[in-house]
């Protein structure tokens, strides 16, 4: 079993990239690998309660639900949250200190910045 970290760093509303990163993360579990999703920098906005459908963007609800169901860790980088004044996160997302983020990345066999 490999450990895979997927890092999401982009703003969520001007691209489908972040939703695709989550879909890929779900797919990567199909060979029993352990996948951790990490939201950093502007990517943390993806992990907040929002209504992207108001600007005709499909929310990545299913992807978050699937990640939660299969027990994938979903982390949001605390310094990135604090820098942006974000206090509210989706229930399945855990705020993580930078040390935990670094540990997750360094312990991973594969790191995918998406």
């Amino acid at each position: 079993m490999k450990k895979i970290a997927v890092i999401v760093r982009n703003l969520p509303l001007n691209t489908r990239r972040n939703a695709e990163a989550l879909r890929m993360s779900v797919g990567l579990t199909l060979r029993e690998d352990k996948v951790t999703v990490i939201f950093m920098d502007d990517g943390v906005y993806t992990a907040t309660p929002q209504k992207p459908e108001l600007v005709n963007i499909q929310p990545p609800k299913k992807e978050f639900e699937a990640l939660s169901m299969i027990g994938c860790a979903v982390l949001a980088d605390k310094p990135s949250l604090e820098m942006r004044g974000i206090k509210s996160l989706l229930a399945s997302v855990k705020p993580a200190e930078r040390e935990e983020i670094v540990r997750t990345i360094t312990e991973s066999d594969i790191v995918i910045p998406f």
């Binding site: 490999k2 895979i4 489908r16 990239r17 695709e20 879909r23 890929m24 779900v26 797919g27 990567l28 579990t29 199909l30 060979r31 029993e32 690998d33 066999d109 594969i110 790191v111 995918i112 910045p113 998406f114």
Partner: protein, 100 residues
């Protein structure tokens, strides 16, 4: 050594030339190379130099869902697969590089 490559950007991005160059060099040195294309990376299958990698023994798979969304036609020798193929590549290879 088995090398896996994920490419998620379209052909105008410099990533494409890098992936082509790395794949050619790796094959010349006898390494196995598997590439998975998703998101805008699926557009690369219509770039001649990229598609020609299959002739050099590079395995290329694309996310069929992303290809359908972008109305990308099939190319001989390239697998229209799913995220499962990406999972298999990630699981099987010795090194995995992501270009996005």
């Amino acid at each position: 050594m088995k090398l896996g490559i994920l490419l998620t950007t379209s052909p105008e991005n410099e990533n494409t030339n890098t992936v082509i160059a790395i794949s050619r060099a790796a094959r010349e040195q006898g390494h196995e190379v598997s590439i998975f294309l998703m998101y805008d990376g699926v557009y690369n299958i219509h770039k001649k130099e990229f598609a020609e990698l299959t002739g050099k023994g590079v395995n290329i798979a694309v996310c069929a869902l992303n290809a359908e969304q972008r109305k990308i036609g099939r190319v001989e020798g390239i697998l229209f697969g799913s995220q499962y193929d990406n999972a298999c590549i990630a699981n099987d290879v010795d090194r995995f590089i992501s270009f996005g």
